[in-house]
Structure formats: structure tokens, C-alpha cells
């Protein structure tokens, strides 16, 4: 059977997209020169902190420096992680509810790897949870849940991370999660207000009490909060506008050598203020985990209280570099956590087989919708 996507019908669009990408990259390259100039001659951090900040969202995200180091300061760590250092990474995956399936449920699974620098094999951890109560499947408008699933998974990941930290029972643990630590959703839904955000903040507090250092690792971060700061710091100087798609990542790829990290910044946002109300305001830096001529820029997020422990931040820096060097820029412990969390289509089929047998044992036979059956046949044909 030939390809189902008729590429010849997209020929003109593919050509246009290619041309647009090249043009954008050239435009970005020119804008990057300006951005580097702005960074080199940025006002002192004290002055930047004193400038009026936009009071309301939405608007471009903006960061402010949290220390008095010049904005283009680069920190390089040459030490390896010390023996005994412990890093725990978690990640999650899910089977979303499907109204065409024979049985309505959703599944979350979090995987974790506990990696101690002691010459021994790390330990694997997983926690799957099956959800099927109507109150879990439907929202207040009696609609099947959608985006709520990602939020619940985010909370479950952080709670599991806190649990693994507590069970390890030693101070100084680095507790890594794949993604931002700053709550990445709007915070406007009832469920977030009533349940999810309090649980999320509580998990961060548990790790603080266990003297761990929680950190979020965001590879290839989008956004330009630092560039926005640079732009707003020069309101009276007529400068060419930056290309709209230019991000902090591109600027950091020019600034940071392999292994180097930027200064710590704090995102100015309503969500971060909510974190602050619970003592969990989030700060971030950029880190180059790549190699010469192959920068891999990550945004590393941690609670502001952790900045009072510079030796722990250096440990985080050293551990991330060691972990990332094994996998071309991405931390090993997070890659393995992802692998442990992953629910494959085979896992899903085996789970549903058991569910069907359980229901069949009670004399009931369920079937998926006709649409789901036909789609299943068609996707099987294509494999």
C-alpha cells in the first residue's frame, strides 16, 4: 500500500514553509546581534529591579534578576558530582479517557529513578493509578475531562517526587522533574484553586522540609523573559525591534559555553505571585548542557528559597552536567524516569484485556464504539 499522505499535493506549502523558516532564521540572526549588544550593556540588576513592572497579565513574560551580578555573568563548574550525592528524577505518562472505548477510565503512571553516586545501580520506582469514578471523569459541566488530566498528572509527579525524597531520608537530595516547576497552567479553574494548586505547593513544601532541592528541567525552553527585560530596560533608546520569534534560548546559546550557566532570574507573573503566597516562588537560570558547536540550552527552575544554598546550586549544576553528558544534553535520570513511566499501546491493550475479563466474569460484555473499532482496523492495516 502506498503512502496515505499525498505529499505531491503539499509541494507548494512545503516549499513556502522552508523559505519562511530560512528567512526567519536570517532575521533572528540579525536580531540576535542586537540582543547581545543589549545584554552586554544592560543596566545594573538593582536598576532593573527598580524599574516599574507591568502590573497585569497577559503580556510578554518578563524576568527580573534576583542577585546583583551583571546580566551576562556566566558560571562554569568543573567539579564532578561528589560520592554519595543523590538525585531523584520523575516523569509521568497517561492513558486519557476515551468516550469511544468500551470502558471509561483514565490511567496515570509516574516513574522515578533514584540515582546515588556510589557505584551501585540506581533504583527504579513506578506508581500507576487507575481512575474511573464519575467525579474523576467528568467536570462540573458534565463534560469528559481534557486538560485537567495533565494538571492532575503534574501534581501526581510532584507528590511522588516528594514521597521518594522523604523515603530516602537524607538531606541535600536533588529532586528533578521533567518540565517547569512554576505551575504551567492558568490557575483559573475551580479544581486548580481548590485541590491541585494546594497539593502542588504542599509537595514543594514537603521537599523543602526534607532539605531537598526541587528542580525543573526544561530543555529547549520557549519564551523570551530575559529579552523582554532587556527591551523594557531601554524605553527611551530607539532600537530596532527584535524578531518576534527570537527567544532567550538563542541568546543563551551565544552567551553560555558548554557547561556554563546564567545568572538566576525570577519570572514576573501572577502565577509566580501565587507561588510566593505559599513560600514557593520560582526562579530559573539557563544552562548549556551541550558540547562545543552543539549548544543544548535548558531552563532550570528551582524555588527561590534554594538560592540561599549556593553549594547546593553548584551540586545541581555539576550533577546536571554529568547526567546530560551521557545523553547528548538531556539528563540520564530523567530519560530513565520517562522510560519507567511510559505506558505503551501494548500495556494499554493488556490492561483493557484484564478489564474485559473482569467484566466478563460478571456476565457482562462490553464493546467499543463502531468508530473506535473501524479506526483500530485501519491503524492496524497501516502498521
Amino acid at each position: 500500500m502506498g503512502a496515505m499522505l499525498h505529499l505531491e499535493k503539499l509541494h507548494a506549502a512545503i516549499q513556502a514553509l522552508g523559505e519562511q523558516t530560512v528567512a526567519q532564521r536570517r532575521k533572528n540572526a540579525a536580531a540576535l546581534v542586537t540582543a547581545q549588544e543589549w545584554l552586554r550593556h544592560a543596566p545594573a540588576p538593582e536598576a532593573l529591579r527598580e524599574q516599574p513592572l507591568p502590573s497585569e497579565e497577559p503580556g510578554p513574560a518578563l524576568a527580573v534578576p534576583v542577585s546583583d551580578e551583571p546580566l551576562d555573568t556566566v558560571t562554569v563548574i568543573a567539579t564532578a558530582p561528589p560520592r554519595g550525592a543523590l538525585v531523584i528524577g520523575v516523569d509521568g505518562s497517561q492513558i486519557p479517557p476515551d468516550r469511544h472505548a468500551a470502558i471509561l477510565y483514565y490511567l496515570l503512571q509516574v516513574g522515578g529513578l533514584r540515582f546515588t553516586y556510589n557505584g551501585q545501580a540506581p533504583t527504579e520506582h513506578t506508581r500507576p493509578t487507575l481512575h474511573y469514578a464519575p467525579s474523576e471523569l467528568y467536570d462540573a459541566q458534565e463534560q469528559l475531562i481534557g486538560s485537567q488530566l495533565g494538571m492532575r498528572r503534574t501534581v501526581m509527579e510532584l507528590e511522588y517526587l516528594a514521597e521518594l525524597v522523604e523515603s530516602a531520608a537524607q538531606p541535600g537530595i536533588l529532586a528533578l522533574t521533567d518540565g517547569p516547576l512554576l505551575w504551567p497552567y492558568s490557575g483559573r479553574s475551580d479544581e486548580e484553586r481548590a485541590h491541585l494548586l494546594p497539593a502542588y505547593f504542599a509537595a514543594l513544601t514537603r521537599m523543602q522540609q526534607a532539605q531537598a532541592l526541587p528542580a525543573g528541567f526544561v530543555e529547549r525552553p520557549g519564551g523570551a523573559p530575559l529579552l523582554t527585560l532587556l527591551r523594557t530596560s531601554r524605553p527611551t533608546v530607539p532600537l530596532p525591534p527584535l524578531a518576534p520569534l527570537l527567544s532567550d534560548q538563542a541568546l543563551m546559546a551565544e552567551l553560555l559555553p558548554p557547561g556554563g550557566r546564567s545568572i538566576w532570574l525570577r519570572r514576573h507573573s501572577a502565577m509566580n505571585e501565587r507561588h510566593q503566597q505559599h513560600g514557593q516562588r520560582i526562579c530559573f537560570c539557563y544552562l548549556n548542557t551541550g558540547a562545543p558547536d552543539y549548544p543544548v540550552i535548558a531552563r532550570v527552575e528551582t524555588p527561590e528559597w534554594a538560592l540561599a544554598q549556593p553549594e547546593q546550586l553548584d551540586l545541581l549544576h555539576a550533577v546536571l552536567l554529568h547526567q546530560a553528558r551521557l545523553l547528548a544534553g538531556y539528563p540520564y535520570v530523567l530519560a530513565r524516569a520517562h522510560e519507567l513511566a511510559l505506558v505503551t499501546s501494548q500495556d494499554k491493550a493488556a490492561l483493557e484485556d484484564q478489564l474485559h475479563r473482569q467484566i466478563l466474569a460478571h456476565g457482562e460484555l462490553l464493546r467499543p464504539s463502531e468508530k473506535a473499532r473501524q479506526k483500530g482496523y485501519l491503524s492496524a492495516r497501516r502498521r
Binding site: A80, L113, F115, T116, Y117, N118, G119, Q120, A121, P122, E124, H322, R325, L326, L327, A328, Y332, A335, R336, E339, Q346, A349, A350, D353
Partner: protein, 202 residues
């Protein structure tokens, strides 16, 4: 019968003579050549019995990525190397059917009435079950004609392994019974028979 259930994976594809299991299991748990396994058939009323005859490690892009970086002599890589040794590896395990356990608990040898369905879970047969299956030599019959499995090597390995689950006093009779069975089945293939018997004697 009290038994420890070791699940090794799910059926990926099957026919009446053999089936293939896809699995992600830690290296120490990968079954060995000649392991007896079973799979539910006919809605679990019967249990197909088979022998592992091939184990293929599948391509693992994650490991390929690591392989260019890891250095066994580098102390900074010790934990990762140890982790890879415990990590679940994607494997395909091929199994030749030799019979099935009927609803009355008796073992019937030969091809099963039905192959296992896709994604059915496969478990390793405990020792007591291996002793029961190999109490009669007829489990060798389907293997002798197998076009896929390396029948002779599989029979020798399985006989050697199965010997250990029979009481010492019964082992001589066990070998004699197996030898006589092979002599009857391979009467028209004297060279093959001689090679098999010689290997069994060693």
C-alpha cells in the same frame, strides 16, 4: 499446587505451531533457551505449553545513544553501566508449542486446538509442572518435525534441564524412556539419532 508465577511478556503473533512474545524485562529475568512456558487458550480453559527456542534482543535506540558515550573503565559511568544491566530490555522470545494442559488437568501432547490470542500473558512453568509435562517423552514429538525451532539442540537442552526436576532414583529410567522414544521416532534417520544419543550421553 503452590507456585511462583513469573510473567515474561505478551503474545505478539502466533500460529498453531509456535508464537512470539514481545517483552521488556530486566536482563536477569529473560528466560533461557529450553524454558517451558504456558499461555492461556480458549478463554483460559486450557493452557498451551511451549518451549523457548529463540531470544532476540531488539534494537534499542536509547542504548545505542548511550553506547557511544559510556566507557566501562570510567568511574563516572559506573552507576549508569550498573543501571543498564538491570534495565528492562526489549526482547522477542519465540516459543514452539509442544502440547497443552486440558480442562481436567491432564497434559495432551502435539499441536494445541488453538494458538494463544494476541497480547495474552505468558508465564514460566514452575518446576512441578515441568516434572509433570516431561513425565512422558511425548512432548518431543512436535519438536522433531518443527520447521522453525532447532529441534535437536532444544530437545537435548530440555532433557538435561528436566532431569533435575525428577527424583534421583527415577533419572535412569527417565533417560532410558527418552532414548527409546527418540529411537522409535527417528528410526528412519539413524545418523540424526546417533548424534542426538551421543550428545545426550555427554
Amino acid at each position: 499446587m503452590s507456585e511462583q508465577v513469573i510473567t515474561i511478556g505478551n503474545v505478539l503473533r502466533a500460529d498453531i505451531r509456535s508464537f512470539v512474545i514481545a517483552s521488556r524485562i530486566p536482563a536477569p529475568d529473560v528466560p533461557t533457551f529450553g524454558t517451558f512456558v504456558r499461555a492461556p487458550i480458549q478463554q483460559g480453559r486450557r493452557q498451551l505449553i511451549g518451549l523457548v527456542y529463540d531470544i532476540r534482543l531488539q534494537d534499542d535506540p536509547f542504548l545505542r545513544n548511550l553506547a557511544v558515550t559510556l566507557d566501562e573503565t570510567n568511574p563516572a559511568h559506573q552507576e549508569v553501566i550498573a543501571d543498564q544491566q538491570q534495565r528492562a530490555v526489549p526482547v522477542e522470545i519465540s516459543v514452539a508449542a509442544v502440547g497443552y494442559r486440558d480442562e481436567d488437568g491432564a497434559y495432551r501432547y502435539g499441536y494445541p486446538p488453538q494458538p494463544p490470542m494476541i497480547l495474552k500473558q505468558i508465564t514460566v512453568c514452575p518446576e512441578a509442572e515441568v516434572a509433570a509435562i516431561t513425565a512422558q517423552p511425548d512432548w518431543m514429538q512436535p519438536l522433531l518435525d518443527s520447521p522453525d525451532a532447532p529441534a535437536d539442540a532444544l530437545i537435548i537442552r530440555t532433557l538435561q534441564r528436566a532431569q533435575r526436576v525428577h527424583p534421583p532414583a527415577a533419572q535412569e529410567a527417565y533417560w532410558l524412556q527418552a532414548g527409546r522414544f527418540l529411537a522409535r521416532q527417528l528410526g528412519r534417520e539413524p545418523l540424526r539419532l546417533e548424534t542426538l544419543l551421543r550428545q545426550l550421553q555427554t
